[in-house]
Amino acid sequence: MSAFRIILVLIALELITITLLLVATLLTQAHKSGSRMRRRMELWETMLPAALAGEQQAVTLIRASLRSEAAWKAFHNFIDENLRHEQGDSTLSFRRLSRHVRLTDRLHRQLVRSRDPLDRAAAARTLARLRERVAEETVLELLKSKDPAVVLVAAYATASFRDPRQLLPVFRAIYGRTPITLHGAAELLSGFGEGVCPVIHGLLQGAVGQYEATSTPGAMVVPIGTAAPVGTAVPINTVAADPEQVVDRDEAAAQVVMVDLLTFYRYRPAASTLAQLLTFTTNEEVLIHLVKALALLGDASAVPRLSELLGHPSWVVRRQSIQALAALAVVEAAPAVRALLGDDNLMVRASAHDTLRALQRARARRRKKVVEALT
């Protein structure tokens, strides 16, 4: 065949491809803005309040609109979208509606049978938001996936069940199987809700206990969240001088996330534990988060250590400590803060400047109170 003919064939093929692409574009556009789908969405939006209230007619109408696969998918997205900001009783109404229209059954089938992990994760997420505990086990299985995206979605789903016992498995899964940052992990775990704070507090108390234990030769160290094995104590005389050595990267990361969560929920009962932890830890990342937490939770027992940290080599720690002293209104720290007006770092100087002004105001308030009390 001559070159000319080959090229003509190529051109013909290209023209066909272009036509197909053009048709595909128009069809996609038409489908997405299709009047049928738009009408369905309008129907769901109108009927949703009545259906959530349990009106049978509304439920039947919604059920009747779910004839095609596309309609089911759209309804799944619709329910998921509406569930995002729902909590408590309203979630129960959504659960009832989903069961009535058989969305729950479909999602459960999708969760168990689908070969696509993302499909399973999508189903898991909605079922978790509906608090369908039947899905919990499969969701936990998804945490073992090799795909980081699936692990993250499964972690979100697990958090939706708000079971404090799952906090550590989820943390280990996301921290070990995805490249997530501490910020990301804390944000994700905040989905567990406030009920998780006592559990975290207990774990951090355990950590403080371990730090104390390492000061005693012959003490045993176990990672956070792990029960100490009875009768198999391993002497660790070598770390007695440096408690920080018992904290590896994962341990420090766990501490940071836990401190952040306690701060986020403003869990004041943990303040004294955090102050104790501050005296032991030398890990810079943990220090920064602890100082920030103590500034917000307000625990005066941390003041001596905070004053010490004004001389820390890291400027971030110095700045955080200054800000914490300002937040705690520790007027006595003013001379130490004034010394930092000549710090090498601009941010530290700026913070010292602001803090001194805040401390002056605090001192004035205190004087006024004393004068008022005397008169």
Binding site: E14, I18, T25, P179, E187
Partner: protein, 462 residues
Amino acid sequence: MKEVLYYLNLLFLAYFVLVNGFYLVLIGLSSHVVRRYSRVTAMTEYEGIFGTTFYKPVSVIVPAHNEEATIVHTVSSALSVRYPELEVVVVNDGSIDGTWHELVRAFNLVPSPATVSYDIPCQTVRGLYESLTHPGLRVVDKEQGGKADALNAGINASSFPLVCNIDADSIIDVRSMVQITRPFLEDHRVVAVGGVVMPSNGCDIQNGEVKNIKLARSTLARFQTIEYLRAFLFGRIGWSRLNSLMIVSGAFAIFRRTALVEVGGYRTDTVGEDMELVLRMHRAFADKKKPYRIVFLPDPICWTQVPEDLKSLSKQRRRWHRGLADSLVKNRQLCLNPKYGGVGVVGYPFFALCELLSPVVEMFGYFFVVLAIVSQAITWELGLAITACSLLLGTIMSMSALVLEAKAFRRYEGMRDVVTLSIHALLEGLGYRQLHSFWRCMGLVDYLRRQTSWGQPARKAF
């Protein structure tokens, strides 16, 4: 001679088929990535971040040199972006028009007691100002040093861990910041993220926010819309998937501040500072064996004014191609070096052969086809067929970009806009593409003649 011309023409055709074939592979890859990305993002709670403290604060840097027509809108747009903690650092790079007065008038600027640390060398900062009406706004007034120098000054003045650069004629979509910062939370290795840039011409813009997305009226801007769709939806997504992203657009990119400081910020002796920075990051982190990722996301969007007259467009495209050549030459150590992974082995050679040289090959191709027809080395039918073949391959890519846009994002909602864009995708090969190749060739000539000027395009108010 005739035989040489015959085979030369077939060689040009083979080059186009190969280049476009690789692009077709990128299309396949991008389609897969976009599909997966859409599914994953549908399951991600972006808005959840507003209820927590677990975000990374962002400094938005807006370099401005003689931008009086657009600066107030751009800054207002940056300030109206939805994000829990954000500061806007405007760098007035020695403007001699009314940019400074516009800023002072619109934002009530007063001198700030703070000082700037010179983490990255830059021209002298004349003063730092803050706004009485907008607490999140800081303005750096400095000696003129060019866009890269202004960005370096902005990085120095910024105080947050993430730094977002936008052009002074660009508007960030209000939801984009939450989306573009997400990879920094989900992956500790991420050092830079690029977003999509689209033409704002024709859009309905109110108070620095794009309210209604519409297609531009000018034909030239519509051709550029197709080009932007093709470049962002195929090229960058595909390269990002291969972990070989060579460029994140200077008009909308976000970086980890420490990474920027570590590599020494932007180079001031190039006009392609955005691409040069990314290539240097690849080199620096690979040399230090530090795990890193440079990512492109197809979702976060920034709207920018594109030129609507041939003169401004020609200047812009010549500058871009000059920047491409300069960046590749300045980072030639990457070329075919397995130490740098995909960037060295695939990305760099592809950009050198298929991006840098493609306009030259294309122009020579047209010339030799005509020469071969005139000298009767090939029949005119064959010549026409070869030209048509290479042009149609380009059209396939443009159409594929439109399909992907319609399927995954549907930014242009109206059927009329889609039809108009499709018609422009078909017409693009008849004149615009050749003109574009000519400008890029001239850009290469400019580079060889060591031309360094920027050529400020004329801005229109939004």
